[in-house]
C-alpha cells in the first residue's frame, strides 16, 4: 500500500526538479521514481536508463542517509527519508 514519505533531491535531480525536498506517495522505490518522473519529466531520462531490476547507473537512491538501494521492488515505509542523487560522486 502506498504511503506518503519525505524525499530529498540532491545534485542533478534537485537542479532539474527545482526543489530540494518533497512528499511522495509510494510503496516501493520503483513507484517512487515513477511518481517523481511524472511530476518532473526532466528527471525521466535519468531514471529510464536503469534495468528493470536495478536502478541506475545515473542516479542513486539512499534510505535515511544510511543504505543505498538499487532494487525498484525495495519496500518503503512512511518513516523512511529517501535521498535521490547523482550517482557519480567524482570531483
Amino acid at each position: 500500500m502506498a504511503v506518503a514519505m519525505q524525499v530529498e533531491l540532491l545534485g542533478i535531480p534537485r537542479q532539474r526538479a527545482g526543489v530540494a525536498e518533497l512528499e511522495i506517495e509510494a510503496a516501493t522505490l520503483g513507484q517512487l521514481l515513477d511518481a517523481l518522473a511524472a511530476r518532473y519529466p526532466s528527471l525521466a531520462d535519468l531514471f529510464r536508463a536503469g534495468r528493470a531490476d536495478r536502478l541506475g547507473p545515473f542516479v542513486a537512491a539512499n534510505l535515511n542517509g544510511d543504505r543505498f538501494v538499487t532494487d525498484p521492488r525495495t519496500r518503503l515505509a512512511a518513516t523512511d527519508r529517501i535521498l535521490i542523487l547523482s550517482a557519480d560522486a567524482g570531483g
Binding site: 545534485g11 534537485r14 537542479q15 539512499n62 542523487l85 557519480d88 560522486a89 567524482g90 570531483g91
Partner: protein, 588 residues
C-alpha cells in the same frame, strides 16, 4: 612503429640545451600505452640514482598518448610525471588541451626534461628543434600572464605550459598551467621551477597516423553522441561543485581541517547558490564534448573556474562560508600556480595549530575568507608564514611539533581531497594506498561508497577488490588518456577501450590484455616508490581518522585494526609480500 605513436621520446638537457630522440620499444608502448603508464616507465628509466626530486638530474616528463590527436572526445590530454617534491614518491598529474596536441606534433610520444638552465628560461620546441629563450622578463608573472606574453611573442601556433610565482619559488605544491587548467597535484610546477624553466612552448607539424581512420571517425562520432547523455549531465549542468551539498548531507564534507563532516554554511557556498547569484559561462577543453567547466563571475571582473575540490578546500575545510572569498581564493591559486587542495589543507592545518596555541599567527583563524586569501598569497610567494605553508602540511607539522602530524591532513605528504575518510571508508583505503598519496583521481573508491556494494561507514576486506578495480580503471584512463568524466558512458570500459586503441594503433589488443596492462601500470608506480624508499608503513592515514567517530555521525568511525586489515588485504591482492604495520605508524 604502430600508428598513433612516433616511437621515440625527446630527451632535453636544459643545462646545455642538448636534445636527443630516444627510440621507444614497441613492446614498452603496448604494455604502458602512454600518459601515466608510459610516464612511470620513463621515470624509472631516467631517474638513475637521483636522490632529490629537485636536483638537476631529476627528470620531468611530459607524456602524450596514442589517442592524442584522434577525434575521440576528451583525448587531448597530457600527463606530467616526476618524483614529487611534496611526497618524494612518484607523481603523475594530468592536464588538457592544445599543449597535448601541439606537443605530440613535435614528433615524439614524450618530452623528458633534465638538467637546470643557468638562468630563468623558456624551453621552446619547434617541430622537434629545441632552444632555450631568456625568461627573465617573465619572472614573477602569473600563469596566465606568462602564457599570454609568450603567445604574443612566439605566435598562436605555440601552445604553452607555464608556472606562476609559486613554481619559481619552489612552493612544494606548485602547478603547471596551460590554458587555465593545471597539472595540479604533487608539485610538477616545482620541478619545472627547479630547472629554471618558466615555461615550455611547443608547436609542430608531425601528425601521427591512425590504423583505421574511417572506422575511428565513426567510433568517435558515436562516443561524442553518448557523451551528451545523462552519464555526463552532472558535469554539464552543475559541474563537480554539485558534490558539496551531497557530501554535506552524508556527513562526508571535510570541514575545519577534517574536524567534522558537515558545514553549517554549506548552502551558501554550494554550486546551486553560486549559480543562482552569479553570471556563469561554460567552457571545454580542446576536443571535448562534455563541457564541464563552469566559470563564475566575481566582483573584480574576470570570472574564474570553480571545481568541487577547490570549493571544499578553500571553503568548508577552512571554515569559510563566503562564496566570493572562495571564488577569489580559487582564482588567486590559479594565478600563483598552486594546488588548491594542498594549499587549502595546509592552511586549514595551520588554522587548527593557531587555535591550539601552537602557531603565533592570530589572524589565521577558521571562517575568515580574508585570512585564507592572505595565507595563499604568502604561501605562493614564500613570504613570512608562507615559507612554512609552502612546505605542505607534513613538513609544517614537523616544524610546529606538538605531535601535530596526528592531524596534518595528508597521506605520504599529499593533502587529502574532499572526501571524509571516516564517512567514506572504501575511499579511506584508496587514500591510504595511493602511490602519489591521498588522491581521488588515482582511486575512484568513493564510487563504491556511494553504491549498494558496501557499507560506507564500515569497510571490510570485501571492499578491497572494488578499490583495486577503480584504481586499475583510473590507471588505464590516465594512460590512454581519456577524461574520467567520460567513464559513465561506457557499458564495457575495457572492451570499448580495446576497440578504440585498436582502431588507432592497428593492434589486436583485448579487454583482458588492457586489464593486465592497467595492473602492470599500477605495479610500475608501486615499484618506483619501493625503489625510492617506500615501505608498507606509509600506506595509512593520519591518527585523527583512527581515533573515534566523526562528531556529527557516531557510525562514522574507522578503527586502526579495520584499516590495517583492509590495507593488508590490498597488499596481498596487489602482490606485496610484507605485512603492513599500517595504522601503527599513522604519522609515518
Amino acid at each position: 612503429m604502430p600508428p598513433g605513436y612516433h616511437g621515440c621520446y625527446l630527451r632535453i638537457d636544459v643545462s646545455d640545451g642538448s636534445a636527443d630522440h630516444v627510440p621507444l620499444p614497441a613492446g614498452v608502448l603496448r604494455r604502458f600505452l602512454g600518459g601515466a603508464g608510459l610516464g612511470a616507465w620513463l621515470l624509472s628509466r631516467e631517474s638513475g640514482a637521483c636522490p632529490d626530486p629537485l636536483a638537476a638530474g631529476a627528470p620531468l616528463i611530459f607524456v602524450f598518448s596514442p589517442l592524442v590527436g584522434s577525434p575521440l572526445t576528451t583525448s587531448a590530454k597530457f600527463a606530467v610525471v616526476s618524483r614529487s617534491p611534496l611526497t618524494d614518491r612518484i607523481n603523475d598529474s594530468l592536464a588538457s588541451s592544445g599543449f597535448a596536441l601541439a606537443g605530440k606534433r613535435c614528433g615524439c610520444d614524450a618530452i623528458v626534461v633534465v638538467g637546470r638552465a643557468a638562468r630563468l628560461s623558456v624551453l621552446v620546441i619547434d617541430d622537434g628543434r629545441v632552444r632555450l629563450d631568456p625568461g627573465g622578463h617573465l619572472r614573477g608573472a602569473t600563469c596566465g600572464a606568462a602564457e599570454k606574453t609568450l603567445r604574443t611573442r612566439l605566435g598562436p601556433d605555440y601552445k604553452i605550459a607555464s608556472i606562476g610565482p609559486a613554481g619559481e619559488r619552489l612552493v612544494r605544491y606548485a602547478t603547471i598551467s596551460h590554458d587555465g587548467r593545471h597539472a595540479g597535484r604533487g608539485g610538477s610546477g616545482t620541478v619545472l621551477g627547479s630547472k629554471n624553466l618558466k615555461a615550455v612552448a611547443v608547436r609542430g607539424t608531425r601528425y601521427s597516423t591512425w590504423a583505421h581512420p574511417r572506422e575511428l571517425t565513426e567510433r568517435s562520432r558515436q562516443l561524442s553522441k553518448r557523451s551528451f547523455g545523462p552519464a555526463t549531465a552532472k558535469y554539464r549542468e552543475l559541474g563537480t561543485a554539485a558534490n558539496l551539498l551531497t557530501f554535506n548531507r552524508f556527513g562526508a564534507l571535510p570541514t575545519r581541517n577534517f574536524q567534522t563532516g558537515t558545514f553549517d554554511a554549506a548552502a551558501q557556498v554550494s554550486a546551486e547558490e553560486i549559480r543562482a547569484t552569479r553570471t556563469r559561462t561554460r567552457a571545454s577543453c580542446a576536443a571535448c564534448t562534455i563541457g564541464c567547466e563552469h566559470i563564475y563571475s566575481i566582483e573584480d571582473g574576470e570570472g574564474t573556474r570553480l571545481e568541487y575540490e577547490s570549493l571544499f578546500a578553500l571553503g568548508p575545510l577552512c571554515g569559510v562560508g563566503d562564496p566570493d572569498a572562495v571564488l577569489r581564493a580559487s582564482k588567486l591559486c590559479d594565478e600563483l600556480g598552486i594546488d588548491t587542495i594542498s594549499v587549502g589543507g595546509t592552511i586549514a592545518f595551520a588554522m587548527e595549530c593557531v587555535e591550539r596555541g601552537w602557531l603565533d599567527e592570530p589572524w589565521l583563524t577558521f571562517g575568515r575568507g580574508e585570512s585564507v586569501l592572505r595565507a595563499i598569497e604568502l604561501a605562493g610567494r614564500r613570504e613570512g608564514i608562507g615559507h612554512l605553508l609552502a612546505e605542505g602540511s607534513r613538513r609544517a607539522a614537523g616544524a610546529i611539533g606538538h605531535d601535530s602530524i596526528r592531524f596534518a591532513p595528508q597521506v605520504k605528504g599529499l593533502e587529502i581531497p574532499g572526501y571524509e575518510p571516516r564517512a567514506l571508508q572504501t575511499m579511506a583505503l584508496g587514500f591510504a594506498v595511493g602511490t602519489r598519496g591521498a588522491d581521488h583521481n588515482r582511486s575512484g573508491a568513493y564510487e563504491v561508497d556511494f553504491s549498494a556494494a558496501v557499507d560506507r561507514r564500515r569497510v571490510t576486506v570485501d571492499a578491497v577488490r572494488h578499490a583495486i578495480d577503480t584504481e586499475d580503471r583510473a590507471a588505464l584512463m590516465d594512460s590512454l588518456i581519456l577524461c574520467k568524466f567520460l567513464r559513465g558512458v561506457f557499458d564495457d570500459f575495457y572492451g570499448e577501450a580495446a576497440e578504440m586503441l585498436n582502431l588507432v594503433t592497428g593492434w589486436d589488443t583485448s579487454a583482458a590484455e588492457l586489464r593486465r596492462a592497467a595492473k602492470g601500470i599500477v605495479h610500475a608506480k608501486r615499484e618506483f616508490n619501493r625503489r625510492v624508499g617506500w615501505t608498507p608503513a606509509e600506506d595509512t592515514l593520519p591518527e585523527r581518522f583512527l581515533q573515534g567517530a566523526l562528531p556529527n555521525d557516531p557510525a562514522a568511525a574507522l578503527s586502526r585494526e579495520r584499516l590495517r586489515a583492509v590495507v593488508d588485504e590490498y597488499h596481498r591482492q596487489r602482490g606485496c609480500e610484507e605485512p603492513s604495520p599500517a595504522a601503527d605508524n599513522a604519522s609515518a
